[in-house]
Subunit: 357 residues, 4 copies
């Protein structure tokens, strides 16, 4: 039986490259030969044991690859075709999916919702940091890569770009809005690009690393603030003439960024939250106008499915965004443990690493 | 010079009926002879000194009355006409108003927003618990009462009904939704009616007073839960087959109701908050799915303006709701201190009191 | 091989009851034993040859039945269970479906849309006016009937109620709206109920048959107009004080009703169109304010899928609507040709017929 | 008494520069000294007598100027300040305004709507092709010009840019959409920029003049089609793989462009119409899928008010769009009749003319 290499979760603090049998393809699956993948902040949480998965599970949820084999029920694709699939890959038939919440897919039984239920790769099924991976419900999830795009150009589509963009989409940005974005890691940078794509006329971004703030400008930021250098809240209020921003996007997952986002928000504004929090959040009474400020706090999980991927690939193909530049480091799959080491400690100015089996 | 009676804030714990000069009408004002008004929970906060207003200010923000005199710029109304005005009565010309947030009206200068800036009666200008009151920006705020409606039938329109309904509107209820509403005071009861008006097919309401739960059924509730008798969270999850509700409306302003609303909410659902909170709020990490549950938390202040009032009056006139039944007690203006006493202590099953000068 | 009775299209003007082999079930199908179905206006178009289908096709798209057999990929249901399926039963995995337009499902290949592509029963596959019928993509389309509801109580859910309600939903009705609905056949009557469910405070309905207008009142109409007796346009303008209605729903499919709907619509209002037109439409220049009236014209095809059906069944179960009363006549499947005869000629005050195999 | 020069409508075919008394300022007005204005297609309709206005009326509705005097009720501005006002300048207090339709402002009496009622300059009151002009309801309509912007940079804000952008906004464009825009005059060009600002990834524009198509590319178009050279409908269907566009924007006002927009639209798509039509429109049955294609046809009149103007000025100030380049010709007010002559005949590649008193 053929075997393949895969990065698996072993125990808290340990991810290993191991050998596994090739997965057995079912009628609704597609088997991909992974050509490029990457490591996500969530994978680091998994490695550290902060987000529990089953030991032995292959991790990773950002696949770029080539169709090796198609299940008998999967039509309209061909073997050898270059494709991606979203980090979130629901079946799209469940009640939650038909109700407009595919990322919270409760599965086909009953009429339930399951928090983050649409996230399966490297969570509830084997992921894609491997030589091969199965895409479940492939009919709903495979998106062909347009001609002329490299793997690295589309590598952010499955998760980072989809998440960053939805931050701007959920913020309900209108032409002429002023938007503040807290944290400029890969997702925050894509939120910046997303805010630009939705028509914001003043995009203020906040981070503590000048290198990132410099990339922010390429992604569309108008004003960059280093929180080591200025009091961010008073500076944003000053910049907006005391008015506050129309929308604030949180892209880190801490009390501090969440709270700052609320404190610079105008009454009637939207706080769009993308971060993965690790403790209870506090809403300060005064920033919340005692509940009377017509505020909206919206959280969004990365949208998936082939239509979302098609749209993001079109955005890349049309040259509206350059996310290839977020790839700062490259590793062979054989060296993925080393890549985790670098990425987990955020060494060497790393933004995203490309992993090639 | 003519003088009139008015209930004014004196110091924490004390509201008094006093005499004041009749207000001097400006070109954009209307002078109303108040025929009926009522006391709101907010007024009790003011009385207790929890929400500071200037000593000597007339309080109250729910006017039903007769036009005594019209400012020179106010057209399309006539003296002697029966009207109401919303508790929130902005000018509608400011940036915040034109931007869709009249309740957060920042005034005509600059381009600012002011939290709750549209609320003026009994907050930043003299209120309506008096024999006479000025309606500012009357052209934008006076709504004639349709023939055949009594004062008590329309008494909830300026605040309670507008607030309760917006709780359902902001919850984005769709036909067939399951909705949970926490607290069934006057606003919660109107939120129940609002959920019914928007097409919810299962309305679950929660309170600790059986008398209120019995009124809830008249307002449209399908299922009533007394939190003294059942564990509300587990019961709602059981009733929804583990799925959670599509929308939850908070109508009290406490950590407990806010948190319960979030705990029974499905991923992808909306928590619509109406309560006035008096301390920081905590969002529990697990109920919030670590920020990945596609939740929406929306707060809404009572919409005002003559168009909103016209719509609510039409709803009453068409017999879609009976809020006259919420009036449980009646007092003359002369006895308003006694009315505050009863209302502040929620004695004798009081829901709303009608005050008649 | 087992055979069953089915109503098939033969040639223009002729539908016949015939015998066919029992359908062969595929892995994604469910085989239903039909217990009740009905005839739709669309079926009459098919019978007359105005909407071409393949000769020999079983027609009908409104199934109420019992699960006889489940395909191997269909989970979460059991044989013997009472269910319905929507008239529109897409697979929900295509680009069009993921993009929010399941009724225009372009199928799983390419990224196309197909007008009305989600309508398959009695159009592109065998329909349900038969003893047995296959539900395609059953996992996405089967909706269990709540206990205690009769077949006739749920018979309108698959098409008539879903269509009527979407007329109100697409009209973007808000609390306090005035709505005019043109034609009060079964769909128009359900649009009336839908407008009521969305919070309209003044519902004006128009038809030429007094019997229907009398049912309209039971469905929620406030004002009924018989177009034989009044000039409908001037009367509606009079009733609204010259303002026009906030939303107008067209429920017939003629130039006259479409045009009247536009003529009574306020600037800024929505014309929600449900009818199936049979010739080009004319938009009169003045009613359209030369294109400057901020009008919206929205068409909607009946929403389907198990989540929509679940919601409609909940609405029935909660007693929010009684559509069983729309069933005016009952026939055995053996007599379906006679039922078509009656229905096509709208004899004997027929609204809907129940057909029982 | 001081007199000023103004361009007035005399009779069909004739606009003249004449002398008029300076307007008398009321308490809610601002008197502007016009520094730059322009001629709109609508003005040409007026000149030709196709859109009737009162003889002697000053025409023009796109003011850039300096505050000469403020009415006694107008606060927050100062004399000598450079400002613009929208072509649409409602009072914002009427029912229509509070209901979200300021362009259809019915005035303060009753609760009416008036088609295009918010358009007053050069329609129901004296316009701005003059040395001086009154801005009514100035508090709601004056927008200061940010430092560093020239008159020509902001000259398109009052009408052309606001109209073009609303074409994209009403089209409900999402990130990754394909959009077709019919006609690339000044409004169509701004619609192109608007589609880009909303995140469309493929913008296809259609015109018959290559010079305009070349400007289209600068405004954000991806693909330009000259209808003299290709069959536009089949080419757009080919370019979209048969799928049709997500949104089509009509920017001319003819049956041909309207119909083409519908013919290239996917089921479920939106036709956003900006043109001013001069005859009844026909909706072709097949392009409309007999009313079952989930289509939306939306018309929009230029949004006005100071908040809209502030947003557009911010868009210009941030360098998101360069509309100064649309000014192809410049005239003194003294030569306005000559400017009309050129503009009405679309000579010499004219797009917009700047008129300076």
């Amino acid at each position: 039986m053929f075997r393949m290499k895969a990065a698996v979760y072993v125990e808290p603090g340990r991810i290993e490259l191991t050998e596994k049998p090739m997965p057995a393809i079912g009628p609704n699956d597609a088997l991909l030969r992974i050509t490029t993948t990457t490591i996500c902040g969530t994978d680091v949480h998994i490695m550290k044991g902060e987000y529990p998965v089953k030991p032995g599970l292959t991790i990773g949820h950002e696949p770029v690859g080539i169709i090796e084999e198609l299940g008998s029920n999967v039509h309209g694709y061909r073997e050898g075709q270059r494709v991606i699939a979203g980090a979130i890959c629901p079946g799209f038939t469940s009640h939650a999916c038909q109700d407009g919440h595919p990322a919270q897919d409760g599965g086909c039984h009953g009429h339930g919702y399951k928090p983050m239920g649409g996230w399966r790769f490297g969570n509830t099924i084997d992921g894609v940091q491997a030589e091969y991976a199965l895409v479940p419900d492939a009919q709903a999830n495979l998106a062909p890569i347009p001609d002329g795009l490299t793997d690295e150009q589309v590598l952010m589509c499955p998760d980072i770009m989809s998440t960053g963009f939805v931050g701007a989409e959920s913020a309900n940005i209108r032409i002429g809005d002023t938007v503040a974005i807290f944290a400029q890691g890969p997702i925050g940078l894509c939120a910046t690009a997303g805010a630009r794509l939705r028509g914001a006329s003043c995009i203020i971004v906040v981070d503590g690393i000048d290198q990132r703030l410099s990339i922010s400008r390429n992604m569309g930021a108008d004003i960059t603030l280093n929180f080591h250098e200025v009091d961010v809240i008073s500076e944003i209020l000053r910049l907006t003439g005391g008015r506050g921003v129309d929308a604030a996007i949180e892209a880190l997952g801490t009390q501090s960024t969440f709270e700052s986002a609320l404190r610079v928000l105008k009454p009637g504004g939207t706080l769009s939250s993308l971060g993965v929090y690790s403790s209870d959040l506090t809403i300060p009474l005064n920033a919340f106008c005692s509940g009377l400020g017509d505020h909206r706090i919206v959280t969004s999980l990365c949208p998936g499915g082939k239509e979302r991927m098609r749209r993001l690939l079109d955005v890349v193909s049309a040259g509206r965004i350059d996310t290839a530049s977020l790839v700062t480091h490259r590793y062979a799959l054989d060296d993925i443990v080393e890549a985790y080491e670098l990425f987990a400690h955020q060494r060497d100015g790393v933004l995203k690493v490309a992993i090639t089996p």
